[in-house]
């Protein structure tokens, strides 16, 4: 038992002295729980998904439903935008809404058309345009719309049902039934007929219990769904996630490639190179180019697997995909080089890399859509290369976007690569690794 105790003490002492192990053991889970907690706790963390809302109807019912949707916590209605040309704030039209979705600027639009609900309507008509680029986001939006409509049922349902009954048995019969019913109630409870007649409208004359509610609901609320983007994608599930996972693996492997400078130092081979008539710049740039090449090959192989095994279409927009791969690999290697330059040992470099990659993947959109993150986290996510890369992959694979549509992402990724790499090389020249 004493031996076990002594061995236990030995392991604890080693663990406490291993700063990297300490970092990974406590800091990584702590940060991840903060991120996940903020997303899924519902304690004011989830900011709601932005959805374009166009109300072309003049009916009172549309206004009621709009108010309900406005008060929903899960969705935030975007009713106007700033026109890029005039700089003025303009109301969004249906065409503009569809255009914005296609561009990937917003993931859904709820439209109340002119004929949302007229004097003769037997049901409410809603148009729902959406881009299911992410399943979680789509589910949230669709669920929220249904929830808003359902919560409006006490206001909407009696009117719709009365219209339905009137169309079935005739207006006169319904009116006669209501008047007779009002008279009976008035006499029995000794209250004026006028006050009952209004209340009668909201009486539950028909129970929906036991009936096929979905069928019943759909007859009253006619939601016309229209998938604006990705309808032709063969395997939406894999196509949506492949970019995020690709970027996470890329960061892991390329950080490893960059930190291999430490291995070479430990082996001693780096010292031999540095003592040869070779400049330090040559060594670093060769390592950089090597790592980028590895990244490109790795991603290409990953996408090929996705193509052959899961029907992810990569060749229809192949050129743009390669450009995004190149820019992502360049940015990811720079990230690895920076970590290597800032670290004093391979263990430290790997520890910091693991921590940052997990954080970047979580808030950068590799694991779940950025739109479901709290506002402050969404702001931070734009500081990660994962965000710009995942968005670019989605643009290319999901929306079939052209070079212009990914140009901003590419500028960000390449700028990060240039700036971070220049700084990393500056640090290398001053740092401990050499």
């Amino acid at each position: 038992m004493r031996i076990i105790y002594k061995l236990l003490v030995k392991d604890i002492v080693r663990f406490v002295n291993d700063k990297t192990a300490l970092l990974l053991t406590f800091l990584v889970p702590a940060i991840l729980i903060i991120i996940f907690g903020n997303i899924f706790s519902g304690n004011g963390g989830f900011p709601g998904v932005h959805v374009i809302f166009v109300n072309n109807s003049k009916s009172e019912l549309a206004k009621t439903l709009e108010t309900k949707l406005d008060s929903s916590e899960a969705i935030i209605l975007v009713k106007n935008i700033t026109d890029m040309e005039s700089g003025k704030i303009i109301n969004i039209t249906v065409g503009r809404a569809v255009e914005e979705i296609k561009k990937g600027k917003i993931s859904a639009a709820i439209i109340f058309p002119d004929d949302f609900f007229s004097d003769t309507s037997k049901s409410v008509k809603i148009k729902f345009f959406y881009d299911p680029k992410d399943q979680i986001e789509s589910s949230i939006v669709q669920g929220s719309v249904q929830q808003a409509i359902m919560s409006s049922m006490p206001d909407v349902l009696p009117v719709l049902m009365q219209r339905k009954i009137e169309s079935s048995i005739g207006y006169k019969k319904v009116k006669k039934f209501k008047e007779e019913m009002s008279g009976v109630v008035s006499e029995y409870f000794n209250v004026p007929v006028d006050s009952i007649y209004k209340k009668e409208d909201s009486l539950k004359l028909f129970s929906t219990a036991g009936a096929n509610t979905n069928n019943f609901f759909s007859k009253l609320i006619n939601i016309e769904n229209s998938q604006v983007v990705g309808a032709e994608v063969k395997n939406p599930g894999v196509t949506r996630i492949v970019g995020g996972w690709a970027m996470m693996f890329l960061l892991f492997s390329l950080t490893g490639a960059a930190t291999s400078l430490f291995e070479e130092k430990q082996e001693g081979s780096l010292k031999r190179l540095l003592c040869m008539p070779i400049s330090r710049g040559n060594i670093l740039w060769s390592k950089y180019i090597y790592s980028v090449l590895i990244g490109i090959i790795q991603l290409f192989v990953l996408f090929l697997f996705a193509y052959f095994l899961f029907d992810v279409e990569i060749f229809s927009n192949f050129f743009n995909l390669i450009i995004v791969i190149l820019a992502s690999a360049a940015a990811a290697v720079s990230f690895g080089m920076l970590i290597t330059a800032l670290s004093s040992s391979i263990a430290q470099a790997n520890g910091i890399a693991t921590l940052l990659i997990m954080i970047m993947s979580a808030i950068g959109g590799a694991w779940f859509p950025v739109s479901i993150l709290p506002d402050w986290m969404q702001t931070i996510s734009k500081l990660t290369i994962t965000y710009w890369s995942v968005e670019a992959f989605l643009q290319v694979l999901w929306r079939g976007g052209d070079l212009t549509s990914i140009s901003f992402n590419l500028i960000i990724l390449v700028s990060v690569a240039v700036i971070v790499n220049t700084y990393a090389i500056f640090l290398f020249r001053k740092g401990k690794i050499f």
């Binding site: 082996e267 001693g268 010292k271 003592c275 040869m276 008539p277 070779i278």
Partner: protein
């Protein structure tokens, strides 16, 4: 050939090299002897350009290395203290990589690889991964990788660390062969036996300063006494210690005493006579010529291995 002038290098508060100046001529087998941490490797690193000196200069064939073009260093071969090879690659692959980085053309490189593999006796293992080599084989290949381009100056930083006597001997022979080919060699070690065996001239470095310079015989001649007496420890010796101390300077080691005779003993025979009078059996007494160890001890009051 190589001129090191007034080199100063400080790491934080520690002065690793303090105004070091050395001149090494063509064809010399030059040794740098000193205990661990004396500054030998730092000086090597400065010569090969791995570390920058705070002040001072190094020039090779009258060209200042700080301003000379990168190609000047092509005249150097460097055998680092570490095994500076790619362990997962074969010996041949390693040599090809370093050969190409030295700018050798393919046919010249292949010929050179054959020659160096022959020299280090690894021709039959050239396709094996370095990670599967013994320590001695790795050391030999480490040397081979440094002489592929036929350098004029070979810098060896403790190239025999951690290997068995046989492999060490093999490396000594290779280095001696290279010296015969008129390659100038700088060799750092903290083993005085190595310096004594290999070097035609050497410096002793301690705490970043050169404390002695010259050939082995010149250094030994610096000592008052060229010989020392070693007396093996045994049970009866304890009672005679005080008498021995009156005969000269007595230094105690684990298994023996070393006696540096007092000047009153003009001849060694007088000393032996006195020892005989003390009834110390002859088999316990050994006469030895002074070594670099003695020189170091004399200069610093410490042993090289301290």
């Amino acid at each position: 050939m190589l001129k090191i002038e007034h080199i100063v290098k400080q790491f934080g508060k520690v002065k690793a090299l303090d105004d070091v100046s050395i001149r090494i001529d063509r064809g010399e087998f030059f040794g740098m002897l000193g205990p661990n941490g004396a500054g030998k490797t730092t000086l090597m690193n400065i010569i090969v350009g791995y570390v920058k000196a705070d002040s001072g200069s190094v020039s090779f064939e009258d060209k200042l290395l700080s301003t000379a073009e990168n190609g000047t260093r092509l005249n150097f071969g460097y055998v680092p203290q570490e095994i500076s090879l790619y362990p997962e690659l074969s010996a041949l692959q390693n040599l090809k990589i370093f050969g190409s980085l030295y700018g050798l053309k393919k046919n010249v490189m292949l010929k050179s690889i054959d020659e160096v593999l022959e020299l280090v006796k690894l021709n039959d293992r050239k396709k094996d991964a370095v990670k599967n080599f013994s320590g001695g084989m790795k050391r030999r290949l480490n040397l081979a990788a440094s002489i592929l381009h036929k350098p004029k100056l070979l810098l060896c930083d403790e190239p025999t660390v951690g290997i068995d006597p046989q492999s060490r001997n093999a490396i000594f022979e290779m280095l001696q062969y290279l010296a015969e080919q008129n390659i100038t060699i700088i060799y750092t070690t903290h083993h005085m036996e190595e310096a004594e065996r290999l070097c035609s001239r050497l410096v002793i470095i301690d705490y970043g300063k050169i404390i002695a310079e010259g050939s082995l015989s010149e250094m030994v001649n610096m000592l008052d006494k060229k010989e020392t007496i070693k007396i093996k420890k045994h049970s009866e010796l304890k009672s005679k210690i005080k008498t021995l101390e009156s005969m000269g300077r007595l230094i105690e080691f684990d298994l023996e005493y070393e006696l540096i005779p007092d000047v009153k003993f003009n001849k060694m025979s007088q000393l032996f006579y006195s020892l005989e009078e003390l009834n110390i059996p002859q088999e316990f007494i050994e006469l030895s010529r002074s070594t670099l160890e003695d020189v170091f001890l004399n200069l610093t009051g410490r042993s090289l291995r301290d």
